[in-house]
Each structure stands twice: as C-alpha cells, then as structure tokens.
Symmetry: C2
Subunit: 338 residues, 2 copies
Amino acid sequence: MTIREVAKHAGVSVATVSAVINDNKYVSDELKHKVLQAIKELNYRPNRWAKSLATGKGYTIAYIVPDITNPIFSRITKGIQGVANEKNYSVILCSTNFDSPTRRRYVDWILEMRVDGVVFTGRHGRESLTEITRLQDAAIPVVTALAPSDVTDMDRVLLDDRESSRLAVRFLKESQCQRIAFVGVRQSTTSKERYRGYSDEIADYCPEQVAYGEDFTWDDGYQAAQQLTKNGALFDGVFAASDIMALGVIACLKEHGRDVPEDVQIMGFDNTYAQWSGQGFASMSIPAFEIGVKAAQMLFDRISEIEIPGMQELFMASLAVPRVRPSLNPNLNLNLKE
Amino acid sequence: MTIREVAKHAGVSVATVSAVINDNKYVSDELKHKVLQAIKELNYRPNRWAKSLATGKGYTIAYIVPDITNPIFSRITKGIQGVANEKNYSVILCSTNFDSPTRRRYVDWILEMRVDGVVFTGRHGRESLTEITRLQDAAIPVVTALAPSDVTDMDRVLLDDRESSRLAVRFLKESQCQRIAFVGVRQSTTSKERYRGYSDEIADYCPEQVAYGEDFTWDDGYQAAQQLTKNGALFDGVFAASDIMALGVIACLKEHGRDVPEDVQIMGFDNTYAQWSGQGFASMSIPAFEIGVKAAQMLFDRISEIEIPGMQELFMASLAVPRVRPSLNPNLNLNLKE
DNA sequence: CTGTTAGCGCTTTCAT
DNA sequence: ATGAAAGCGCTAACAG
C-alpha cells in the first residue's frame, strides 16, 4: 500500500496526499476529504523508512543502559519514554548487561539507524567514554544520566550522592545513633561518593567504621556486616550504600542477636526495598523517573537547536522513612509514587 | 557519507561496494580490499533507512508491555533483547502504562515502522485483542507472553499459574500448615488462576479462606489480611498472589501479634521480594527471562517462515525457599540467577 | 491550489 | 567479475 495507490484511488496526485498526511500545505476541503476517505478505505499507513529517507529525520532516540532489570534504570527508562512519546519519538532500548562488545554493537546500530540522540547510563570509565565519543563524532547528541564522569563539557544529569548521603547520615544522627558505620562497595564511584557524604557528616561526631563488599548485593552486605562485627566494632547505626546490601546487613546482625531497629538502626539507599521489606529501615529515594524525564528533555533541547555546551542537572535523593502502618501515616510513601 | 562517495573514493562502482558490504557476491580480493579501505578512511556507515526501504526488511521487533518497571516484565524484556540482538534485530520498547490510547499510538507506530514482529504482554481483554488484531491484519506476527486469553489460535507463551499455585500450596501443607488461607486480587485473571490452584490443592484438606484486594499492592495485601483476621479466620498458613501482597499480609499479622513464620507461614508469588526481604517466606519464582527468550524465539520462527498456527508454550514457576544463611545453603537461590 | 518530478541511499537485475 | 540503471515509498521544489 503506497502513497501512489492512495492518490490513484482518491483521484488526486501524490503531492496532495502527502500534503494532507502531513497537514503542511493548503488543500481544499473537498480533496482533503477524498484523500482521507481513500486512506481509510485502503487502510493506508505511510512508510516510515521512506519518510525518514526523504526527510532525514528518524524520530527515534536510544537509551543505552547497563541493565534494564535494575529498578532504578527501568524507572529512568519510563521517564525517557514519556517525554519521547509526547514528541512522537520512539525509543530503542539498549540493555548492555555491562558487556563492552554488546555496548559497542549497539553503538554501531545507533550510528546506522541515524538515531537522533542518545541517553546514556553506565559506569563511567574509558570504555564508555570511547563509545560516547564515537557517537559525538557522528554528531549525535548524547546526554548521560547517572553516569558520573570527569568529562565536564558533557550534557548530563546526575545524582548528588555525596550530599544525599549526608542527609541519610544526618537522619541517623537525629535518630539518636551514637556510632554510625558505613557499608559500601570497594570499586564503585557511586559508593565512593556516598562514603564521602558519610565521612563529611560523621567527621566530628564519631569515629569512622567502614566495611566493603565487591558489589551491590545481599551477600556483600552480609559479609561486610560480618566483618564489622568480627572487628568488634561498636555501632548502633549503619548506613549502607544500597537497600539490598542493607538487607544483607540486617540479616547478619540479626544472626548475631542484634535487633533492628531496636539495637541498631539501618539506613539504605535506593528505596527499592526499604519501604516494603517490613524491616523498618529508612532509605534514600532516588528520583529516577524525574531523572529520565530531565535527561530526555535535555536531549531534545540539544536535538532541536541549542549550542550551549555542557548542560548539567543535579538531583538529590530524598528521605523515605519506613512506613509503620499504612492507615496511620498515609503520606509517608510519597516518594514511591511515580 | 553515502555509498556513492565510497565507490568514488575506492574507484569502483556502487554495486561493488554494496557487494562487499553485504558479502553476497564474489568480489576480487583486490577490489574488496580497496573498498574496505575506503570505508575505513571515510568512516562510512550504511544508512539503515535506505537499506530497509530497498530491501523491505527492517530488522526490528517491538515489545508491548504495560509497565517496564515491573521486575517480571523487565526480565522478560531482557530475554527478548538477548535473542533479538543475536539475530541482529533491535527491539523497540513500548511501555504503555496500562493506558489504552498510549497502546494504540504504539501500534500505529509499529505499523508505520513496518516492524517485523511484536511480543505482547498485558492484561487480556477486549482492548488488547483489538490492537493485536490490527497488527495481525497488517500481517505482522504477534506472540503474547504472559497474556492469558481465550483466543486459542494465537502464538503465546504463558505461565501455568494454576499448577504452579498447587506446588505453592503443597509446600505449605508439607510445612505442617493445617489451615491455609488465600489472599488475591479480585478482578485479576492471574489471581483467579492462582486461586484455582489453591482451591484444587486445598479441596479435601481444609476449608477455604480467602480475602481479596483490588490490586497487587502492599496495601491491598495488608487489608486483605485485616479482613481475614477480622472474620476470626483460623489459619496457620497464607498463600498470597504476589510477594508484595505477602509483605502487606505479614505486616498486618505482626501487628496482630502473630509471628512469621512461627505462628503462620507465608507463601508469595513472583519471588521479587521473598528471597531478600528477610521475612523468611517462600515464593514461586517466575522464569521471566526464559519466557522472554521463548517468546522471541517463537516470534522469529514465525517471522522467518512457518505456518504452524497457534504455537504455545507453558512454563511453570519454581519453588524458592527463603535463604537462611548465605554461607549455609549457597544453592538455595538458584532461581534468582539470570 | 494541485500536479510533475527529481531525488533521499541502497539493492539488485541485467548487461558487459 | 564488475558496472549502469531502475526502483523502494516518500517529500519538496517548481510549474502550472
């Protein structure tokens, strides 16, 4: 079903059909009606490929993300989708599973597909940088979301992990914790930032007590707590770099006969589990959806014009206190709304 | 950068360039080398639009899903991506937020983009059916994943909710529960199936005790448990239609002074939270990743040929027992691996 | 106002 | 073994 057939069926020229489809030229009501009629009857749909080829506009953006399964990232995705769809763009999802070759192949595709722009989430680092550069060399706008990096002249939206962590620790302090420990991930930039916030806030309050795992997992949280306990550390509060780690910590502490939150209070980060686990620990809620929205907006700004170099947007995580009883404090979980 | 420029640069014809790019015609080593050289030097990438227009192949599939934020769905997505990428297809993500107009607009797009095939997840129902039909009318293959429906001549992969639920309840029975209650969602087909499994299994074991919420949420679980308690129901086991509901149930029971799992054992479904919550309840793990893989494979089978009508694949959920201590039973969480 | 027509970048006969 | 040329379906001058 082509535009030509529609034209024939309606007894007009292809140009007229095109004009009514795109609504960008004056067409008499009569012809317009005929054309619309023909389109209905033939169940015609313009071919996007041809259109893109002719116009040079593809109306697609891509989202490169390490793991779509991560709730934070899937919420970002949702945010991106929302604004893209509003502008009649589609988004191609590129979940790389933290694998460089996969990431590279995606970038190849993106280049071939003449995608209009890319949102990028991922560990910062040399390899990511390479891909981003390839994109930019091809004049494809890129904005990074939650991808801390030293490259400063890049459009990006990030989370103020350090400052957010200070809020977290402050809450622990206000909850009467005297000695607060930190549980993080050794090689993670993100964890490092969260540690710095912890460190800032704890400076002249109590001695630092930290333990690390290799990854943001339950097991690593568990083991870090084990370590803490083994070292005979004294603490009545723990700030963990993620909720899932916090849960590992809690499990370990309970095995050691320490009650949560009676004996020791826990603070997580992410608010992916805290609110619902029933373990009564607080967490820092990441405005992931909003981050996705903002990233997409920046991308479209960049696509449509604008030569401003290095736009940047900084988000803060917000405190999410554990809900006690749903009926008693219905307002507590505002952060979970999307 | 077009194929013509490459040809000029290499001193050959466009046909030759095309031939070496697609590796589908004999080209002398010498020319081949020249062409490759030129491609490198000019940093040339074939234009997908033009290629698709010329060949009629788009190498994209779409995944229509109600909410990418749902862990089960995002795992399905991951499965689909995996097999699609292997075949050099990209996948366009269409997260509809359970909104019909949005879904409709996505289908419009899909139609225009001449997508090769669609995987569909969603509530079954008239509206979904309409969209699926629109797709099929345009000769676009569709396979549904986790979208129970009465239409039998459709390619689909589903979960045997009923049988899986029997396994769940059986586990509760084997754990010495004498009286098992069910907590579900009133209008949900899925919940209905899970109830049937419960009912089957409980038939000549103990009286049925059921309570419903309106949705798969913590609050609805909490309230259903409330209801159960208020009715003075006697139970030492609860099978909840989802983990998040199970957590609501647990919270409620604890408020009523009943210990979990000492006084009453809980069984969830999904295994999205059970394993990690530290609340010591079991759950049924949905092989979501595998479901995605299978759905994509079926789709590609259908795309590439095959007139078999109504292929169908049935998956079972598997029991995931709560981990006690990571060090003690390292094999327990096999189900969580992806 | 409407129609003709020359591309957009690539593939693919069909000659050579 | 290689090249010339005719489309793929649509848009956008340009004529009329």
